[in-house]
Amino acid sequence: MSEFLTYTVIGLVTGCIYALTASGLVVTYMTTGILNFGHGAVSMVAAFAYWQLTVQWHVPVLVALVLVILIGAPVFGALLERLLMRPLQGKPVELQVVVTVGLLIFLLGLANLAWSPAASATRTLPRFFSGHSLKLASVFIDYHSIVVVIVAVAVAVGLRFFFSISRTGVAMRAVVDNPGLAAMTGARPYRIAQFSWALGAALAALGGVLLAPLQGALNIDLLTLTVILAIVPAVIGRLRSLPLTVAGGLVIGLAVTYAVGYLPPNSFVAKAQTALPMVILFVALVLLRQERLRSGRVTGMNIARAPSLSRSLVAAGVFIAAAIVVSELLSGVNLGTATRGVVLGIAFLSLVLLTGYAGQVSLGQMTFVGTGAYAMAHLGHHGSPVGALAAMVVSGALGAVVAIFAVRLRGLYLALSTLAFAYAMDYIFFDQHFGPYGSGLSVDRLHVPGLGTTSDKGFFVLGAVIFAVAGVGLLALRRGRYGRRLAALNDSPQACATLGVNIAYTKLAVFTASAALAGLAGALYGGQQHLVTSADFQTFNSLVLLLLVLLGGKSLVSGALATAVLYALFPILQQHVPSLSNIQYVLVGLGALTLGRNPDGLGGQITRLRDLMADRSGRTTPSLTSGGDRLVGADR
């Protein structure tokens, strides 16, 4: 009984922290429509800053609390809104996701630079009123836990009053319902958005400072990940209801604690329990009432003109020829890097298809790469093509299964369901089937008889050929009937439905195809690495992948190649210049942050420049007699 009480108390305390941080997410989302994936990173930085102030610089606790939670975090949140989030209003969901993912990666990189993980064991934060505890029934509860509960209750009650009574709070609710109308009646949506970001960041910081002492030594990843789980209660609250969010937080806290406490150690379930919140998230998303197909958004993705078949064939030929030359010039590690870049390029192409063409967001694409590598490892002995085929089938089938559940979701909810799936797979699958503790799984290289693909050079050229074929195939698809269908699906699902298109089926098909392509990339990637570990395919990498694809220009085959090579270079750069390891994430994060202002990515900029020059030299745009307003003039 006392054991049960102890777990319950721990669960409730954990739940309170989830509730706190999730409330911050909800407050920001409901006034701005943007779910901040960097929320956990804000908590983490706040906890480190608080440690720096109190432990390192001996600033009094109260002063440090005020500095971090009441000044630092809100100012940071308000700046975020002004600089990054404002241009994101009304932009496609993948951009909104990726910019905050960029914030996450940027802050992670920054924190790793500032507080080297090597010394992490020495960084501990004392609990509040350390050493004091209270005996309740048969359970000792330390004062810190009591502080957590009191603060959580105070915040919940405070927010409740704030939204029902205060002028700002009521205005925020009005903005949720109808920004245009609220603006007409005197509310200032930007001010309110700024305030909600400030409030969200303050709650994140508060959660971080309360959570860190409970986790022992400060750990950048652990802190960030824990708070990222706040997404789960936020979704349970349907990103709108604070009371439901708080309840969701408590449920998650209790569920996780009981799972740790009562499940037999070493069992599959116990290992998988880390994935529990994300499993709950997936279920919550699937059970969520289906959003109505809403009409009223005129969009046209800015998609590059697809080159003609002859041009793309010439480009592919040049690319393969260049690859052959490069294979003669490079050797050893460098050749390996080039190969990794090219085969990962195929995975990047799978997102060009899914996100660039069809406008669907996957936050778990690396999972399908990983299952592809797994299939190759088990069915592709001695490089048998059967393995590569199996990789496509297995990953494609898995993609289809996820899609069956996910296709009725749209936008952010769809993205979250892929995130939940990928995150759960990290623990349920990758950590368990890639050698003991994910130490590694050996994969043979795909061997095409007669092409000498067993050598490093040959394998590189093989990868380049497959990339070229996939690229030419995608471009052909883009120009044709199926490409128009995907563009139509992206621009207006409701119009498609009223024209007789089964949207769910179309989405299912494109998800399956994209996952299969990612699986093929995985088979090749595994062969290139020889030994793959669970770390290769973690959700975090999926986020980086999506981010890079958008940076390269989400509908560009060439952009995918360029960013894939960049991605392949990461480990190399790190090896040669260790201090670069975090700077590269800082830079990638920074790059993503610019996407709010520049949604087409770097690749998009380049092609636009090219198109512009082509327009200047000859082609003229027909003039329109009946002027009138353009639909999305500002966006193009």
């Binding site: 128009r484 119009a495 439905a497 009223t498 024209l499 745009t621 329109l624 639909l631 193009r636």
Partner: protein
């Protein structure tokens, strides 16, 4: 009964079945959180002509379209297309039975050209209908029919709103519907263009199609509709021929207000300017 041929190029075949009821809305109610958007609405649309649906803003016209096309589920009531009961049917299955619509708040495929918007509609039709013609030739014919030939190669998000509405109309026609639902196709058009639109709709009617028209330009509706339904606060307050409806005192009070007819005309023109 034999389904009327919807092919607008073929008028002769349909003339005989010109008066069949294509759309039947029976007793439909929709509530949004306690507010009744539609209250026991019944209406019909017949093949071979335009049926007008008018009413002030917020009367429930677009909600009606959403219910008919399956984007909105009614709390009560039924919708039938020809002999088929559409209750609970997904939007794409309804479309395959022969209905197509345009949207008040545009739903064009903004990243495609005008031609490709219509072509996509024709290709969709081809993907589910065995009787579909070659998409390219259908597209060609429609481009001329709705007068978009000159802008065929422009991206749709770069053309004026009025034209984009015509693109939606063309795209809907590309699926060869029996029932065409038009949600304010005339807003954003100048007087000449709107006259042109009126002619086109009458033509489509003569070719055997049932056209249900929601439009703020009351003049246009009265000129071309064989029958007009008037919605106010989610209820049908009047129905009948144009002249009957115009003479109806309830309509004048509720919808047209007490203003004389001239003022009304001014107002609709102003409305169009705003849209």
């Amino acid at each position: 009964m034999s389904a009327p041929t919807a092919d607008p190029t073929d008028g002769a075949k349909v003339a005989s079945s010109g008066d069949d009821v294509v759309l039947t809305v029976a007793d439909v109610s929709v509530s949004f959180g306690g507010i009744r958007a539609l209250d026991q609405v019944s209406l019909t649309a017949r093949a071979g002509g335009v049926t007008g649906l008018i009413g002030p803003n917020g009367a429930g016209k677009t909600t009606m379209f959403n219910v008919i096309t399956g984007l909105e589920r009614p709390t009560h009531g039924r919708v039938r297309l020809g002999d088929a009961d559409l209750s609970g049917m997904a939007p794409h299955r309804r479309a395959r039975l022969g209905m197509a619509r345009t949207f008040q708040r545009l739903e064009v495929f903004g990243s495609l050209s005008v031609r490709d918007n219509i072509l996509t509609g024709a290709e969709f039709h081809r993907s589910w209908s065995r009787h579909a013609d070659d998409p390219a030739s259908v597209t060609d014919e429609i481009l001329d029919r709705v007068g978009l030939r000159a802008v065929a190669d422009l991206r749709v998000d770069a053309i004026p709103t009025g034209m984009a509405r015509l693109v939606e109309l063309g795209r809907a026609l590309a699926t060869r519907p029996r029932l065409l639902l038009l949600d304010e196709p005339g807003s954003g058009l100048d007087e000449n263009e709107s006259e042109e639109l009126g002619r086109l709709l009458v033509e489509l009617g003569h070719a055997g199609m049932a056209v249900l028209l929601v439009e703020h330009d009351v003049d246009l509706v009265m000129r071309i509709s064989r029958q007009v339904f008037v919605l106010d606060f989610g209820r049908v307050i009047a129905s009948g021929s144009s002249s009957e409806v115009q003479a109806n005192p309830v309509v004048r009070a509720a919808y047209l207000g007490t203003q004389p007819a001239n003022d009304l005309d001014d107002r609709t023109v102003a409305d169009r300017g705003d849209a």
